[in-house]
Amino acid sequence: MKIDATRREWIAGAFTGTGAALVGCAARKTAAAAAEVSITRAAAYDQTLYETVRRSLAKHRLDVRGRNVVLKPNLVEFEPGSVINTHPLVVHAAYEAFTAMGAASVRIAEGPGHRRNTLDLADAAGYFRIVPRFEEVFTDLNIDDVSQVHLPRQASRMGKLYLPNTALRADLLVSIPKMKTHHWAAATLSMKNLFGTVPGALLRMAEEHAALGGYRRIDRRFEKRVSPPVRPGGWNRRHGRQRAYSRHGKECGRAGGWPRHGRGGRHLLSDYVH
């Protein structure tokens, strides 16, 4: 294991009794398995998306027959004229596609971190208008029942998480994030959408332990690698402005932080405006 901490960090850790936490937070290099990736152009957010998403999923030869599928969009806040949330048409297109592929059940589930009232946010973002019987197919992860999950690998000071049973019991959890800018890292490239599965009542426990324990290290290394730093202004003009997530950001750990619990796998389907 490579301990990726600076001398200054070691000294600070020794003085404040957080040396162990620093070791826990230190980066571990893991080999990433090759993943099948499709990038598909869609002309507009219109009815043609349904066929586009169906064809994209068919290419990946996913067998979801008889499986319980949970779609996790990215709902953060709503701001008219801005592009913050996953477009409801993308989510509904995925919903229809997985249903057509023979899934036993398909649910849409989300637990935003800023606005704890998910249904209000979904309403403002157009989900009630686009997704028929939205309340029947939607689970608000902020108020779902939870189970304690111990983290097999520690990337922060957290040893455990409380995760919603709807997500844990899914056979396939499909992350449908919104590709956009981020106030700390400039871009998170859709890697952290699953943070929104931690129920709102407990979310801060996770994100803030992570933020206070580790995000600054990640942030600084990001800055070192991207020089000059990515300026959000240009991105904002083209892709819409994203409001900041929190004072301390939601940066945590690394991709792959989702604990390998439950029966399911995970899959990424991103909504990216270009």
Binding site: A12, N117, D140, V146
Partner: protein
């Protein structure tokens, strides 16, 4: 609305947010709503649930099974003391007084200094976190402030009154420091990448309720932002805005929530009942 609350009560005496197991937050609001409506029997079953779920450290977890006390500890003090009991009440306040944003603790500040980073701007006026070990935010700070001020009114000559007054003053300053430029509050950020952040209706209402009686130049901006937000379709937003504006005597006469506001969860329904029956005094 009261029927809805009665129907949603779990067999263990507590309430879920929507469906499922009992959580502390909806149970506290449901108890207060039922007490206000004179439904004492189900309210007492709810209070028994709250007393049963108190943690050894004097706090409450968001729900049983979560092994960590959290911000909902402040909400527990909304249960009238004749039911909560003086000893439980005092322990709850002790938990709150001993809790602050992690980024303002001495250990964290020292670590940051050693790493060559500036200390948190909130060190001078620490707020409250959602859970211990995390940074402070607007909503848990507002809830804790409401609890401490209630304690000050209940026991003005308590032994730790100075400590309570100090934390309450810090909490008020935290809220004032985290007000959005246009007035009102969001989760706690006022600016990011040079953009001013917009307030949310629900946190604006909560903060206003916590700042009852505060006279500061920026309060007019906050009250104006709250009045502007009264058109929100969010039930949560409506409830807290009405509570917050009422606390300052600024709720417009005959103000009614828009027709399209949907009250779906136990917290929304219970808070609406509380608003309509006199508020969280």
């Amino acid at each position: 609305m009261i029927e809805f609350l009665l129907k949603k009560q779990n067999s263990d005496g507590g309430w879920p947010y929507g469906n499922g197991g009992s959580w502390t937050e909806p149970t506290v609001y449901a108890v207060r709503a039922l007490l206000a409506a004179g439904e004492t029997a189900p309210a007492k079953r709810g209070i028994d649930w709250i007393l049963r779920t108190a943690r050894p450290d004097g706090g409450w977890a968001s729900r049983p099974g979560v092994g960590e006390s959290s911000w909902v500890t402040a909400l527990a003090t909304l249960i009238p003391e004749e039911y909560l009991g003086e000893q439980t009440s005092r322990r709850t306040i002790e938990w709150l007084v001993g809790t602050r944003g992690e980024d303002t603790t001495a250990v964290y500040t020292l670590r940051e200094r050693l790493l060559g980073r500036p200390a948190s701007a909130d060190c001078a006026h620490p707020g409250w976190p959602w859970t211990r070990g995390a940074a402070a935010w607007v909503a848990p700070t507002a809830a804790a402030l409401i609890a401490l001020e209630r304690e000050q009114r209940l026991r003005p000559s308590a032994q730790n009154v100075g400590q309570i007054a100090g934390r309450a003053a810090a909490g008020r300053n935290f809220l004032l420091a985290h007000m959005c430029r246009e007035g009102g509050w969001n989760h706690g950020a006022t600016n990011a990448w040079g953009y001013d952040m917009a307030p949310y209706p629900e946190t604006t209402g909560m903060a206003l309720l916590a700042l009852r009686g505060v006279r500061a130049p920026q309060m007019e901006r906050a009250l104006a932002a709250a009045r502007r937000s009264l058109s929100t379709r969010s039930a949560d937003g409506q409830n807290w805005l009405r509570l917050g504006l009422s606390a300052h005597g600024q709720l417009p006469a005959n103000c009614r929530p828009p027709e399209e506001v949907a009250y779906r969860t136990v917290t929304e329904v219970a808070l609406n009942e509380i608003v309509n029956r006199g508020g969280l005094s």
